[in-house]
């Protein structure tokens, strides 16, 4: 029943989540601040060796982005679960997997997208070249939605638990590893002047696989958490 009324519901969910986030603007800063702080602490920790910093920059930025995105995951279904609106979402006549995709879209717009946009500034701090920064931004734009989509499955599984935080990290981190490997490898290759299309294609494939496949297990896990 994927018709215009389902699209209405999808848009309503995205709009409501963006509006709710706007009412809590201060909380939006948290993951960004975490991201910026972690990345800026590295030069202080490893010393001001320009060549070394440049070499570790892609890895540092990507690991920080990954952890910052993990930090925001827990809130994805939490408040909906607590106030009962998740039940109403499950009980709507529309396919739950599409509604879940709406939740994740809003979540990515509020976490992954701002992280990706801040990253080039941080990359400049590490003295990365423009070409490599471009690839870094691309990998973040391709990779962070994958993190949100995969994370959603684990969040849906743990939302019913009172202390699901650590379990969430343990469930999700192994699945984040391929994204991290391909992304930081792409930026490394770009810095060395090698072609990166292979890695980017691979990441695009991961993104499309995640968009098409993850909403189903997420929806099923949500139903399980509610029963």
């Amino acid at each position: 029943m994927a018709d215009s009324s389902t699209l209405n519901a999808f848009v309503a969910i995205v709009r409501r989540d963006l509006l709710l986030a706007y009412r809590h603007r201060a909380e939006l800063i948290n993951p960004l601040a975490f991201f910026v702080l972690v990345v800026t602490l590295f030069p202080l920790g490893v010393g001001a060796d320009v060549a070394l910093l440049k070499r570790i920059a892609p890895g540092v930025i990507w690991v920080a982005a990954l952890l910052a995105s993990l930090l925001t995951m827990d809130s994805l279904f939490r408040s909906d679960f607590e106030d009962g609106s998740l039940e109403l979402m499950v009980m709507s006549p529309h396919p739950l997997s599409l509604l879940v995709l709406g939740k994740v879209t809003a979540h990515w717009l509020l976490s992954g997208a701002p992280l990706s946009l801040v990253a080039p500034l941080l990359a400049m701090m590490f003295n990365m070249e423009a070409e490599a920064i471009k690839i870094l931004l691309l990998t973040l734009l391709l990779g962070t939605p994958v993190l949100s989509l995969i994370g959603a499955i684990a969040v849906a599984l743990t939302v019913g638990l009172r202390k699901g935080g650590v379990l969430l990290a343990i469930l999700v981190l192994p699945l984040y590893v391929p994204v991290l490997i391909f992304a930081s490898n792409a930026v490394d290759a770009a810095m060395a002047g090698f072609p990166v299309s292979g890695q980017l294609y691979m990441m695009s494939a991961m993104l499309f696989l995640a968009i098409t496949l993850t909403p189903w297990p997420t929806a099923a896990a949500l139903k399980m958490s509610l029963s």
Binding site: A9, L19, D83, L88, M91, S92, S227
Partner: protein, 206 residues
Amino acid sequence: MKSNSIVFEARQLSCVRDDRVLFADLDFRVTGGQVLLIEGPNGSGKTSLLRILTGLRLPDEGELFWCGSSLEELDSAFYQHIAYVSHGNGLKDDLSVEENLRYARAFGESTLTIDQALEKVGLMGYQDTPVRYLSAGQRRRLALARLLCMKKSLWILDEPFTSLDKKSIATFEQFIQSHVADNGLVVMTSHHDTGLPAEIVQKIEL
């Protein structure tokens, strides 16, 4: 819809929770135009039964039928007909009254406009108030307004009269009666004595 075309039926329902049998072999049959009132002491499984009826929870045994088809087959098609008001109300504290209703209305066909629904439950003038500032009774009324503006034939209500004042209870009982008169179905739990006419009410004791 022809009169009495809607039948909601349960056969041999059982629910086990933490190794305790809450109820077993429960049968009922409600048709359009009837209210099913579920009574029982605290902890007797009223809310669990309602969650089973909504499909949120699976019965440990037994099956549910909507107009002759099993709920398992119907899956999400069943949800076109059903509206559920739980303890939690399902409202967003940080959104205004109107925003909450507008969000709810995006999920299906609606019969009333937002203003009409608010008028009916006496929340006119609160459109822009964040739900956070409403009293418990007003929240309940907003949850009921959501019910009124959606076009659903089966209402499943968990203690709908909690924290409502006497006047609101009477008004809401009228809404239930007119919904039922319109060939609708209501399944509800209540600790209060309802003022609903006995001929439309079917009672189950858990």
